[in-house]
């Protein structure tokens, strides 16, 4: 699977339970026993508890500890913490308002997709219903981007010595590792921490292995979904932009567990809503390798078709 292209590769994996394929993915990646930097911030308080991973691979692992770095910064810099909380409050409020509008538009679009008949008028109404959803998603992303930008203006890495020190330390640690592993877990916490330390630029030239949430953050748009919550299914929501390292994809970790596959209309709506991005499932045991914007290996990865079916992704 190793090739000679200069572009860094990205390997996306599904959940590592019950079946583990992280070790096989690393073995096939061609990095040999080179050290790997680990980002386990998605585990929050359990960050750095990487003994289980170390037992799988011979490569030296270095957890970057960005969750705890952020905790220390917040404790030391009250102004930064207050501004960060304010940003989080604004994002939560923005998400709440987006959700209020999204609920109605989703119901309407789903119902219109269920209308029988394929006349031009029906097709046009379907297109319009979906375009309204897409417009709302775009608007929401603009709003979240604005909120993030306001915070970044106030607390840029350059203007905050403590933050700058940590970023410098992270760069030093990363300099010794060509490959970065990002674990699954809480995708919002993970993305917030990655953004705080400017990881979009720190990661861009690294080989990256990400599983579940660790894969989602690499895409350009984080879409939350879960059909099996105790209170029932919930309509998928765009949360915010991801790091944009794996563009034009919407990633669905553990789709076999979280997504109800028996409603093709709903799946079709999902696919069409995010088109031209490709909606990809990454289930337990599956693997997607990309390099230079192309899929170079795919095991068990499916994409959601325009018709709402799940079809295996072929290697290009």
């Amino acid at each position: 699977m190793n090739d000679n292209k200069n572009e860094p590769w990205r390997i996306l994996l599904g959940p590592q339970r019950p079946q583990v394929n992280l070790d096989a993915a690393i073995a096939k990646s061609g990095i040999g026993d080179a050290p790997i930097a680990v980002i386990s911030a998605a585990w929050q308080e359990a960050e750095g508890d990487i003994g289980d991973i170390q037992r799988l691979v011979a490569n030296p692992l270095h957890d970057l500890g960005i969750y705890n770095r952020a905790e220390k910064i917040f404790t030391a810099d009250e102004a930064l913490q207050a501004a960060y909380r304010q940003r989080q409050d604004q994002l939560i409020e923005q998400q709440r308002m987006y959700r209020l509008r999204l609920r109605q538009l989703t119901i309407a679009a789903r119902e219109i997709l269920r209308v029988e008949g394929n006349t031009a008028a029906v097709a046009e109404e379907r297109r319009h219903a979906i375009s309204q959803l897409r417009a709302l998603d775009r608007h929401h992303l603009r709003q979240t981007r604005k909120i993030a930008a306001r915070f970044a203006e106030q607390f840029s890495i350059e203007s905050n010595p403590l933050l700058a020190d940590h970023v410098a330390a992270l760069k030093k640690e990363l300099a010794g590792c060509d490959t970065v592993l990002i674990t699954g877990g809480h995708v919002v916490v993970l993305l917030n921490r990655l953004s705080l330390f400017g990881f979009d630029s720190l990661l861009v030239n690294k080989n990256i292995i990400g599983w579940s949430a660790g894969a989602m953050v690499l895409s350009d748009r984080i879409v939350l979904f879960h059909d099996r919550l105790p209170q029932g299914r919930r309509d998928p929501e765009v949360m915010c932009e991801g790091l944009g390292i794996v563009p034009d994809t919407v990633l669905l970790p553990d789709a076999s567990g979280r997504w109800r596959h028996n409603d093709p209309v709903r799946s079709s709506l999902f696919s069409r809503r995010f088109s031209p991005a490709t909606c990809l499932t990454i289930d337990n045991g599956s693997l997607l390798r990309m390099q230079g914007g192309k899929v170079t290996d795919s095991e068990g990865i499916q994409h959601v078709t325009r018709e709402g079916k799940f079809a295996l992704v072929n290697t290009l």
């Binding site: 339970r17 879960h226 919550l229 105790p230 919930r234 949360m239």
Partner: protein
């Protein structure tokens, strides 16, 4: 009825040793689909099943099994039902309410204990039981001097296992908090639902009243205590998310009335309510017939039904189908919906008891305070 018991009862003179063996080796009551047979053994004059279920006779008589000292009665119990009961045993002038001696499944409440019949299809939810894998939160005992109630009140504060001072948490205020802990396993439920990511890590303030029939019956002093004293106390002492949406008030029975009343009196304070088998008695005309303890409740509920306003944005209501309050709870739903409240109403084949309320906590809490499962991709 179980085949073994039927066979035994068909015998002209069942052998005492056979009866001993059957009773020892069989779980009682006998659940055979929707038929449930209760059995009592003893030399008495009469036996009655007492289960306080609206719709059934208060006392269901047992039949003596000929040529034995066995008594039995069979009732039909729909799938998924769970009922609590006692036996009334009569010997001469003496009447006694006892637990079913053949059934070890018991539910406790502030008045004592009842035997439990877990009908066909009912299973205690696993999330309601202690799970060693769920990290345990802690309970702190605090005291609060209340000017409104003119007394010092104990408040138990539940902190999640991952509690940190530099985080901010949603707040759950629980009426009859000690009872919820003792009889509805609230701590295990909170630990488990947090562990399962179905609710967020939260702080709960558990209050208990020494005079709940008075204070929980639509009492303005109690509402002042909750909104004007307890909330500021909790905000000052703990890192809370300082917004209405992050505060939920809950209670069962009269505690449900107290929750609705406090949120109605102070409409900007709570974003959500969890009301379980609320004693929402009202009268459309004339007098109610629930006794004097309900007089203030009826006054409040009649006023509320005239002017429901919007006590909270989201309200979860649950009630047992086998309790007389089902009518009042059902009729509350459209009043709230008409005011734009988002309401979720759940009925259960159970009655007015703590285990019914325990079994509804997952769906209620996770609906009102959704956890991070939505955001976690392991």
């Amino acid at each position: 009825m179980s085949p073994a018991l039927q066979k035994l009862l068909r015998q002209a003179k069942p052998d005492a040793a056979e009866i001993d063996t059957l009773l020892r080796d069989t779980s009682f009551p006998l659940v055979d689909g929707t038929d449930v047979t209760f059995v009592y053994r003893g030399d008495v004059d009469a036996v009655f099943l007492r289960c306080w279920i609206a719709g059934l006779d208060t006392a269901q008589p047992f039949q003596a099994v000929a040529n034995t000292d066995l008594w039995a009665t069979t009732i039909e119990l729909p799938k998924g039902s769970r009922i609590e009961y006692k036996f009334e045993v009569v010997s001469g002038e003496h009447k006694e309410l006892i637990l079913d001696p053949l059934n070890g499944v018991i539910a406790h409440d502030p008045f004592g204990a009842n035997s439990v019949c877990q009908g066909y299809g009912y299973k205690r939810p696993e999330w309601s039981e202690y799970n060693p894998l769920s990290r345990e939160g802690s309970l702190q005992h605090r005291q609060l001097d209340s000017a409104a109630l003119q007394s010092t009140r104990d408040v138990q504060v539940y902190l999640p296992a991952t509690y940190r001072d530099n985080r901010r948490y949603p707040l759950l205020v629980v009426h009859d908090g000690d009872d919820y802990l003792r009889y509805a396993d609230l701590k295990a439920v909170l630990d488990n639902l947090t562990h399962r990511l179905e609710i967020p890590p939260l702080i709960a303030a558990l209050v208990q009243s020494p005079d709940r029939l008075n204070e929980y019956s639509g009492n303005d002093q109690h509402a002042q205590f909750i909104a004007g004293e307890l909330l500021p106390f909790m905000s000052a002492e703990y890192p809370l998310l300082d917004k209405r949406e992050a505060r939920c008030l809950m209670g069962a029975s009269f505690g449900g009335v107290a929750s609705l009343h406090a949120a109605w009196r102070y409409p900007d304070h709570f974003g959500s309510l969890l009301l379980q088998s609320g004693s929402f008695a009202f009268s459309d005309i004339g007098r109610h017939n629930r006794g004097p303890a309900f007089d203030p409740v009826v006054r409040f509920m009649n006023e509320f039904r005239e002017q429901p306003e919007r006590p909270a944005e989201r309200i979860f209501i649950s009630c047992g189908m086998y309790e007389s309050l089902i009518y009042e709870n059902r009729s509350l739903v459209p009043h709230l919906q008409a005011k734009g409240v988002e309401v979720r109403f759940e009925e259960a084949r159970d009655a007015h008891n703590w285990e019914n309320w325990r079994d509804r906590l997952r769906i209620g809490l996770s609906w009102l305070m959704p956890g991070p499962a939505w955001q976690v991709y392991e």
